[in-house]
Symmetry: C2
Subunit: 378 residues, 2 copies
């Protein structure tokens, strides 16, 4: 790929870093006899999905019915939709369930009723448990509520109780290996307790846990049956801050033209804003918000040598990114240059951009955002 040809904000993918991340996680799971069911919401790409297949992965996680359909179209046939089932999509779910081994998440009994009455296909049912993130899921101590769901489940033989699933998203607040391992262990303990309680009645049930900090930083996976991390395929500055990766493992970077410089405040303006990066930030040690950190281009890829001394994005509007430099770094770029940025949250950046340019590619074939907004049905 020749960066000289890049004209507009472009999301670059380093296949080497990406495949290394996939290999490392797959190998860690294999060595601990844990099933890796990676979450594909981060990359949302057939092409990258196939790199997982090369590592022997054959079961995946997604976050929407549309994403399940997209990956089913590429031959994936064992898919968990790790999102409380949206019964408004029951017809799409029915179509999918006829095609793949489909696992769904439920958090209440009415969802079981709806699935049971409307579907004839076999479905695996996971009960979503809240291990402390408090986003969604049932309190694992309220087994009376679990019992209500399981009682309803018995009425529908096509619905198979798969087990208990949790997302320990509160690891994102952690900053040390010990904190993450503690959350991982505590989450697992909750799930194991449930498994032990319900296994006599439901032999074969499993427990599933998933988040990138936990899967990356926990030394021992323990008695978990499956893990569902997703972000590790790319990693990002948020994961670096938590301690789940080094900056060098981050497998995507934005390439953005510099369009203005402001020596009086050591700032640059880049073409690259909220519609490209999305708008998650990390808070730096000095309290400043950071929406991206600069890396430099050398030969065939980007390099992280500037470390934390690198210019960083202090704000994003729709198309503008404002970059804070120091007196030392200010002279690194002039308007017209291409600059390179590690994203704060690669899942959202990848979704906003909708396309990757691989460093392996022969030429950049300029990135075009999806067709501009359309009015439907008027």
């Amino acid at each position: 790929m020749n960066p000289e040809l890049i004209q507009v904000p472009t999301l670059l993918l380093d296949p080497q870093r990406c495949r290394q991340n996939i290999y490392t996680m797959a190998e860690k799971a294999r060595s601990q006899n844990v099933l890796l069911r990676p979450h594909f919401k981060t990359h949302q790409s057939h092409h990258i999905g196939r790199w997982f297949r090369d590592e022997g992965i054959n079961r995946i996680t997604v976050s929407s019915v549309g994403m399940a359909r997209y990956f089913a179209d590429d031959g994936w046939d064992d898919i968990t939709i790790a999102f409380p089932v949206n019964v408004r999509e029951i017809n799409e779910i029915k179509t999918l369930a006829a095609k793949v081994r489909l696992s769904l998440l439920v958090v209440d009994a009415p969802a079981i009723e709806e699935l049971g009455r409307r579907l004839t296909e076999d479905i695996q049912i996971w009960i979503k448990v809240d291990v402390g993130t408090h986003r969604t899921g049932l309190n694992p101590d309220h087994t009376d509520q679990l019992d209500v769901i399981l009682e309803r489940l018995q009425h529908y033989p096509q619905l198979h109780f798969a087990g208990f699933l949790a997302h320990a998203g509160h690891t994102y607040q952690s900053r040390t290996v010990q904190d993450v391992q503690d959350i991982y262990n505590q989450s697992l303990k909750e799930l194991i307790k449930l498994k032990q309680k319900y296994q006599p009645e439901f032999p074969g049930i499993q427990i599933s846990l998933g988040d990138t900090p936990g899967a990356s930083m926990a030394d021992q996976y323990g008695e978990v049956d499956e893990l569902r991390p997703g972000n590790f395929v790319f990693y990002d500055l948020m994961q670096e801050q938590i301690g789940a990766c080094d900056a060098d493992a981050i497998a995507v970077a934005m390439a953005c033209p510099v369009v203005a410089i402001h020596p009086e405040r050591w700032q640059w303006v880049i073409y690259g804003g909220a519609v490209h990066f999305s708008k998650d930030a990390i808070v730096l040690a000095d309290g400043q918000k950071c929406y991206g950190r600069m890396v430099t281009w050398q030969e065939q890829s980007w390099h992280t040598g500037l470390g934390n001394a690198a210019p960083f994005l202090i704000s994003l509007s729709q198309e503008h990114g404002i970059v804070q430099c120091t007196s030392e770094t200010f002279s690194l770029h002039q308007p017209g240059d291409l600059s390179y940025w590690l994203p704060v949250h690669s899942c959202l950046t990848a979704d906003a951009m909708g396309a990757y340019h691989s460093l392996d590619g022969p030429h950049p074939d300029h990135y075009r955002r999806h067709a501009l907004n359309q009015v439907v049905n008027v």
Copy 2:
């Protein structure tokens, strides 16, 4: 449109509210003899653009070369790209300039050199001035810097000096009509001073100002030549908080399925997250962040009757939205219901969604996000 048929997060467009917003702004500009050159980055839609044409608008503003190309394709032939010129797109700029009356922004002399040497087509050149937002633009007091740009400009007869352009984005920090009017007046004063200084040498130069709070709230536009507001076409909760609109003027709303409820904390989970709303928030009076506020559906459109007592989105992850209710509002929805949400920043929500469903439409023809992420060039 029948909301019963909506299955997934969908951006609804109320044509009546939208056309009223367009009419009101066009009428206000007409009555004060100011040229309205609306910014089309908010809606990014051919269809909505035509509603402006119905109001006699024939000049527009956009924020990228790609957006200029998109609207040129629909017959717009007088377009300002209100973003510091990205010289890496010089070939696309050349093609556009051969087709439409193109206006570009410059903030430094090297950009003039690049345009002058590479383009043979006539181009209108605006100098971007910083009237206090400190995003980009030249300090209007540093006329020595302006002089350097204007000196270079003289060497290229195809480059025509159009005047001085500013974006008073610091109105977004205001909360009263007086504050906004003050910023508007102060910004205008800076531009008038420049116009008066340079008019003898460059007769016919104009001054252009543009931001939705200013254009909506300033009672008198004064001696400005053109205004470039954009967001007013939809408005949003951020504009309501500033005081630029009533909630009832907001012309887009997200329709999102409710997928889980949590009585112990009076919260719901909706299918609708950062990839749908994008991730701008306003801070409420009590310090809580708000990513969207609920409205109710009645007959043919949404209604804002719940006001500030409405449930609101307190956090967004990739696909999940977490809704905070009170004991009174918690019972308004059950899983499986469709809920409706005014966005915090309609520009970013519209961009993230990429499609509108008009309330006038005969059926919702389910929204599909743009094709999932593709790897290019591998």
